[in-house]
């Protein structure tokens, strides 16, 4: 360990410097790759993406956002629902026929798999997106104003 042939620098320090340089290069490469992936690696589009950059009609995509309060309506057949998905900047009407997950409620997050048909997003499948908050049920019975605040925070 104490002998060295490269003059001045201990091999221990030489190895440390080499490894630090290698690690910096590696982390840089990883971050660049992650940055380049930023759009492709997203699991879904948000409504403002769809409005800004209209996807082809009929192409299979995923749409994610918040189910707008008061927008959820069940049609006469009892299994088809209409609702609006918004992200605070844009809103997209969604139609879905089938059974919804338990956590699918107004004011909560949703990811819909389907395609654009005209101006409407027709979903084949709905996934509920939970927010990062964990609150016991007793506190769930808060006033409408408080609930609204929670929903606004999770947007």
């Amino acid at each position: 360990m104490s002998t060295n042939s490269t003059g001045g620098i201990k091999p221990k320090h030489q190895r440390l410097v080499l490894l630090v340089i290698a690690l910096v290069a590696l982390v840089g490469a990883g971050l660049l790759a992650a940055y380049a992936l930023s759009n492709q690696a997203s699991y879904f589009y948000v409504p403002s993406d769809l409005v800004k950059d209209k996807p082809e009609q009929g192409r299979a995509i995923r749409l994610g956002g918040m189910v707008e309060k008061g927008s959820l309506k069940t049609r006469a057949d009892g299994v088809t629902i209409d609702f609006i998905v918004g992200d605070g900047k844009a809103r997209v009407p969604v139609r879905y026929t089938g059974i919804t997950p338990d956590l699918f409620v107004e004011g909560s997050g949703v990811v819909a798999e389907g395609r654009m048909e005209g101006e409407t997003f027709v979903a084949d499948n709905l996934l509920a997106k939970h927010d990062e908050k964990y609150v016991p049920r007793q506190m769930g019975d808060m006033t409408a104003a408080q609930a609204k605040e929670v929903v606004a925070e999770t947007k």
């Binding site: 221990k12 982390v27 990883g30 997203s42 997950p101 939970h130 990062e132 769930g140």
Partner: protein
């Protein structure tokens, strides 16, 4: 630090640390999980399914902590040639992989009733599955390096380099829900802030502490085993030479 490089001194320390960590950890983890299952009230939206939180989150934390251990041990092995570092890295791989698998399994079970699916290929889930595959690769590589070492090769260094390179996945897992839209929710606990209510947070932190102590105990136990293996092998070789 080189004071601990002496395996004999390390073994004396590990002999009483290991049972202490295992027993305290098991008591804390079991207590917190039981408390979470029996006492804690249901979540406002998820109801009783929230109780899986007390296993899922500690498992996720230890899956990532396991690879961080491997990465630090690899760095120490490569730079300072610390004789125990390679053993520490190898000892952390199997428990780390186990917790990663537990995290993926409990997450999948949790996702079915809450999200409505067992699995999606979003950023968080995919990067965590990659972590499990990295563990498998590391375990296979370190096993091969050990056999190679018996023949006088330097395979241990390749294992350490793999351990360091694999560490790039850890910040990616951590940031995946921030960088990319994902079905998995953003982090609940960030820099001193928590959006988990206290009734869930305290048992969760105690469960995480308990499982971490168990993890530490298992790592020490495996390090003792690996050291004993190396000693036995060296003795056999001496006998064969004589």
């Amino acid at each position: 630090m080189h004071g601990f490089a002496n395996p004999a001194r390390f073994l004396r320390l590990a002999r009483w640390m290991m049972p202490l960590l295992l027993v305290t950890g098991l008591l804390l983890a079991m207590g917190a999980v039981l408390y979470g299952v029996i006492v804690v009230p249901p979540d406002r939206l998820m109801g009783d399914t929230v109780r899986i939180l007390f296993i899922h989150v500690p498992a996720a934390w230890l899956g990532m902590a396991g690879w961080s251990t491997i990465a630090i041990a690899s760095l120490v092995e490569l730079v300072w040639r610390h004789p125990l570092a390679a053993i520490a890295g190898r000892a952390a791989a199997v428990p780390g992989a186990t917790f990663t698998a537990i995290c993926l399994a409990t997450g999948s079970i949790w996702a079915r009733p809450t999200w409505g699916t067992w699995w999606v290929w979003d950023g968080r889930l995919t990067s965590f599955l990659i972590l499990l595959f990295l563990y498998f690769g590391y375990i296979a590589l370190s096993g091969a390096a050990q056999r190679d070492m018996a023949g006088g090769g330097g395979g241990s260094r390749i294992t350490a380099i793999f351990g360091l390179v694999g560490a790039i996945n850890i910040p990616i897992i951590n940031r995946s829900v921030v960088w990319w839209n994902s079905l998995h929710q953003p982090p609940s606990i960030t820099m001193g802030k928590s959006s988990i209510d206290g009734t869930f947070l305290w048992p969760l932190l105690i469960a995480a502490l308990g499982f971490s102590l168990v993890f530490g105990g298992v790592v020490l136990a495996r390090m003792r085993t690996l050291l004993a293996d190396i000693q036995a092998e060296a003795r056999l070789r001496r006998k064969a030479m004589a």
